[in-house]
Symmetry: none
Subunit: 228 residues, 4 copies
DNA sequence: GATGAATGAGGCTTCATTCAT
DNA sequence: CATGAATGAAGCCTCATTCAT
């Protein structure tokens, strides 16, 4: 997009010129990638800890032990930092949840799996990422909002497709053509607010297992209700 | 809090000293109240339209047709403006939803009513308030977050109590002691994300009735599932 | 000077029209005077306690239990408040010290008396006034500085005259034509810094008697040295 | 205090890593130092000329021919600007006076020297610094006042020690245990008010030599008086 | 005379971004 | 590639003063 190769999951064209990179080029490439990650991790921590606006570029650079200029070499601007973070989290989330939902064909096991994964794996291990996707990235700028929407849209699509497969396979009829979409949005909303309430606002991580199970039960309850 | 009577729902002590206020005092009081409202409305519009950060105090003053100083006469600072707005919205929402949920004793009618009121009354008429409570007030400052949490806590408490009354009246057993709370949080989460998705992000207000009905059906489905 | 009769020591023209004021006019006059004093006392306290700049007109009005408008009725502006205060203090100081120095003819008793009065009467009883004349009024504006200078000039003149009378009466010769003036300035400087050091900065009021005696001894020592 | 090396008398560690700094690093360091000085000098001039409050940061930046941001790069605050200035002046003063007083052992020569240095060297050459230490820094903020006090305390300590050495060496007895301290404070007070009166208020710099000599005579007179 | 709401210029400070070295 | 000093627009807020009632 611009002159800066600003992402780890992009610049992998090994064997550019038909051969391997030179030893030193490889090392440089590796260092580049490391720096990129260090900065992103610093931003992640500071955004979550102090808030997107309060976290200045200088503080981020300090924490990453680089200069401000270097941050601007790897990222177009502060917004870009947030967007990369956001996309990364979205990617991870979709990997986690999406793969679970994709298992959901006839049974409801996929929904259970997704809940388990989210509440018992993701939430306790990545509280900072929760803060970023559900708090810090909210309402920051049109562009950020676009990325947020895309992430949610994809997650919702996964859930929706699971629901529609379920419908097709079990022969139940949804109340309206929008039902699947609405239910998918609902499910995302539950995940979001539960995480916000019990991780970001209160720290009830000890009860997270129960919370997750109750949530899954409720989610499934609504779905099951359709099946008979 | 301080000497300035900064809210419409507060200073109503008519008949202060046994009699009515003098004519001119009444008028001044009324004008005061009007100015307060004018400024708050201007802030509401600008916060929703341009975002909390982008909306400068000067712009707000301009839109309210007063000077910056006047804004600071009625509100302690920019944050205060947001908080008053937030509390106002929280108050309105609790009036709307709370009263519906409080009707929910044996039947599930209260849950239906609440959904109807939210999706068919509140959402289409107050999209700016949705933007403020669900977008602009998110992660702005610890104090704002405190107010947000209080609002959500109260709404959740209303739902939870309704669920617990239902449990008591119907004799069903929830899965865990946390179930009622978790379900209440889930329901708030659905409302939030549905509004965000279909009002703030996309404009699907035309389909709002269907969306609301589907949502209510899903909410009730999960609840009903408990009852047998 | 302007339409406002802004001083207690000015507006005493009793028997304006050859007769006494009416009863109610007298009362009004008295109330006027009281208000003036109340405001000035409030300003004195706040200027000393919080500093001239930090003390806002509104706070002063509050403490005097009047409105801002009323303050502006009695005083032209904030600077005027400070100046009236300053002049009042200067007047008091000159009464105290000047009368003592004027006693100094042949003996040095006047110098002793002045020191005693300043350190044992004025300093412990009017610490706020010390703060105003020696701290808060320093470098605030050209006009204030002018008043300050006039106050110091008069006090210095008193001392200087005492010294010159001493010279005339005892026949000693000062080192230079400036000596008397210089010594007078020195003496004022000692008073000032001693008060600043031991009242404003440290609170050594318990030792004030000793401090005063030591200071007087030093002052006299320098003077006595001339006499033989 | 923070990562920015904000003072000329601090960052002198030549030969950091066993060798000299690189040519360009040296130059950058020098330029840094120069900028710092330029800004401080601009502040000195404006504070003295227009007063601390009237001198806006923008004017200071303009005079130093840098941007406002640059001023804030080198100094934390406006207050910091004043404090650095103050400390610098205090340092210079202590070098001047302190070294003179430290010479005072048996004779009174040190006292003479100090007076001469102050009135004939410092006062005429640094009238702006007089204005800052004796006028502009007075009563500006608790922090500034703290620095002022420290400066005065140190100067007073120097004088006091000289007096106590004199006492020890000549066997005279002071009137009270506080005498030395009181006299030291007195001497500082004389310096201060003489400078204020004859440099800041009136411009009697032409007579400064005589003034200084008279002052010294008076100071010594008080001291000598003790010795017999 | 008294009130206090309204004014608005002006102040300080922050911070994302750039660019010469 | 990396640095970090420099920029300057933009933001929030204060507060002495005025004036209609």
């Amino acid at each position: 997009m611009d002159k800066k190769n600003n992402s780890s999951q992009i610049d992998h064209h090994p064997g550019e010129n038909g051969g391997a990179l030179s030893r030193s080029a490889q090392r440089r490439q590796r260092e580049r990638e490391q720096r990129y990650q260090t900065i992103l991790r610093a931003a992640e921590t500071l955004f979550a800890r102090e808030g997107y606006h309060k976290a200045g570029m200088e503080r981020i650079a300090d924490m990453a032990e680089v200069s401000v200029g270097t941050v601007y070499f790897y990222f177009k601007n502060k917004e870009d930092l947030l967007i990369q973070l956001l996309d990364e989290i979205g990617y991870q989330l979709r990997n986690l949840l999406g793969s679970a939902f994709r298992q959901a064909d006839m049974s409801l096991a996929g929904f259970e799996k997704a809940g388990k994964v989210f509440f018992e794996d993701f939430c306790p291990h990545y509280p900072e990422r929760l803060a970023i996707i559900f708090r810090e990235s909210v309402g920051q700028s049109p562009l950020v909002e676009t990325h947020r929407k895309r992430i949610f849209d994809r997650l919702i699509a996964d859930v929706r497709e699971a629901l529609e497969r379920l419908q097709a396979n079990t022969g139940v009829a949804f109340q309206s053509p929008l039902s699947a979409e609405v239910m998918a949005v609902c499910i995302m909303g539950m995940y979001e607010r539960l995480a916000y309430q019990f991780i970001i606002w209160e720290d009830r991580s000890a009860e997270l297992k129960t919370i997750g199970e109750d949530a899954v039960a409720y989610i499934l309850g609504g779905v099951k209700n359709l099946c008979r």
